[in-house]
């Protein structure tokens, strides 16, 4: 699962801003969502991202993996993944 080409993003004060210039949209991600995005940007697997999420936010890995799956589907729905 990869981030769609043509997007630019930047972390500012803990929030991650994603520009989808093709659709003239600005998305804002914070907390776990930003961590998941950055994991996808580094081509990490969902399991690897879930492990990072579990470590950073003190949640179980199973719950973290479910969260990653949910958010990936949300990103797909928003047209942000290839």
């Amino acid at each position: 699962m990869k981030i769609k080409k043509g997007l630019a993003y930047r972390r500012v004060a803990g929030e991650l801003f994603v520009v989808d210039a093709g659709k003239a949209r600005l998305h804002e991600l914070n907390g776990p969502a930003a961590v998941i995005w950055e994991g996808l940007a580094k081509n990490r697997s969902q399991a690897e991202i879930a492990a990072e999420l579990a470590a950073q936010f003190e949640v179980g890995e199973a719950a973290a993996l479910a969260d990653v799956g949910d958010f990936v589907r949300e990103l797909q729905g928003a047209g942000l993944l290839a």
Partner: protein, 265 residues
Amino acid sequence: MAVSRGALGVAIAGFGVDFKSDSAGIITILRRRYAPFIERPGRGLELAVSEGPNRREPFRPYVESAAGRLELRRGDFNAEIFSGAGRGKAAAAPNEQCLDAFLRSLISWNLLESGGLMLHSSGIALGGKAYVFPGKSGAGKSTLAKLALKAGAEVISDEINLLRPGPRGWRVYGSPFWGEMRAGGRQANWPLGGIFLLKKAAATSVLPCAPGEAFRTVMRCLVNFSRSAEVSAAALLAAGRLLAAVPARRLGFSKDSADFLELIG
């Protein structure tokens, strides 16, 4: 009737464009529309402009660059510019709206390329410094600018301001792009003294503003017609650098009072 065909230099935010055209209409419109920004030709991008069709669609400009060739077009203009050679050619409908949209597209691109940005905002000059108030339509940009003007401040633009970083900090440049005040602007620049997000209120106040909120507002007010990821990244970087250099605050202001001028300096 005098024929004004020939060459005309226009400089906006430090970017010069030397228009050359056989169209008397185009030169006349440029001379009238950009009078405060006219300069001697010979120091800017050499642009040969011919008259083109006045199509309404597409309305949103297309601005992209590849292999040193910048392409700008919408229904009523079509231009290609070779930045390395410092020249280009364009076909444009001979009317003010078209030439304005073309120059807005070109200058917004130039600003992002040089680390600056074009911002939907009200800008005023006071005490030798510029203060910028970003906001979308309805935020109160023109209201605030009119209040400032009435109280003796200079308005840089009530709609679009041009910001560039320099060796001694960010500067705001005179803008020919205005909103409902429809003034001409002037060719000058000021050090940026402050950035304020607007909030209509019963009483005047200046409050801190969360960095994320300021960044969101600046990004939403930034003018960028390119769809490329590289230019989007440049926009994110410019907005981040701007707010790191001059943190934004929130200004509560009433449409009945110019008291805010005493609080922003």
